[in-house]
Symmetry: C2
Subunit: 175 residues, 2 copies
């Protein structure tokens, strides 16, 4: 039951990541999920629900990718974190953040915006904990968001630049 659900969500995430939110039809999504149309609609009663399920699935995977067994020292942690953002972008997505992409594809959707907010807030919060920069979550958010957006244009150079900006953040404790 929940097993089927997870398998479907994984397939949907893959489809949306590869082709965006506008293009794939529900029949494409059915193929990506590997179930029949009826089963798909049983678990996700509308296309909008399919988007939400895919994002939920991605949220869990993204957190795991960024924070599992991160180095302990604060400087090492921040560098490793930004490095992992780069590897995520290189392996998992063709362009930009999937959550922003979903909102951009349907700006009127309130639940979508809520998912985006929760996602970013949790990423920022855990980044603050992991790097010993609690209280500077917004700086960390700006850094990670900027890297995510700039990566598609500059790949590794963007990672290096984000790390430099991050070092500046730590060397001065000015408020």
């Amino acid at each position: 039951m929940t097993d089927t659900m997870i398998r479907i969500a994984a397939g949907l995430e893959r489809a949306f990541a590869a082709r965006g939110f506008a293009e794939p039809s529900v029949e494409d999504l059915r193929d990506a999920a590997g179930v029949s149309l009826r089963t798909l609609y049983k678990y996700m009663p509308s296309r909008a629900d399919m988007v939400l399920a895919a994002l939920e699935h991605r949220h869990a995977r993204y957190l795991a990718h960024l924070f599992d067994r991160l180095p302990d020292g604060p400087e090492a942690a921040l560098d490793a974190l930004l490095e992992r953002v780069g590897t995520w972008l290189a392996t998992e997505t063709a362009h930009g953040c999937l959550f922003h992409g979903a909102v951009a594809a349907d700006p009127g959707s309130v639940p979508l915006r809520e998912v985006l907010s929760r996602h970013k807030a949790e990423v920022a919060h855990r980044a603050g904990e992991a790097t010993g920069l609690a209280g500077r979550e917004i700086e960390l958010l700006v850094l990670m968001e900027g890297l995510t957006q700039a990566w598609s244009l500059h790949t590794d150079a963007a990672v290096i630049s984000a790390k430099r900006l991050g070092h500046g953040l730590r060397s001065r404790e000015a408020g």
Copy 2:
């Protein structure tokens, strides 16, 4: 002739900025442009061309907003630049960067990606010139992109955070 064209492009830009790229139908765009369907298609032979025209128009307006009469001193220039990014987001767009939004709505479009690249490259280049940070364009790009994305969640706090990150960038000339 070109006058009509500009008026149409301005209306299209407003429509896409307000409602995203997926939602508005061509009839909605016609209303926003204030011309007939026939005239609209005369100047922009397809809906994809309407998107491109809207982005071209926005590109010019964005550059003007960011760089017209920017303060001279490098520190003041960077702060003012980031401040202007904030005011742009507050007055011009409900959510995120319109160029990224357009690509997200149609990830397969090559001309769209080219417009995005040219836009970001020119913004970064001119930001480097204006702030005396030529050679650090990618850091500036990460900063401005991060601010743009984080702004919708944190508004003014994101501007302040971006400024802090920017100060760190200047205080150390390390490569």
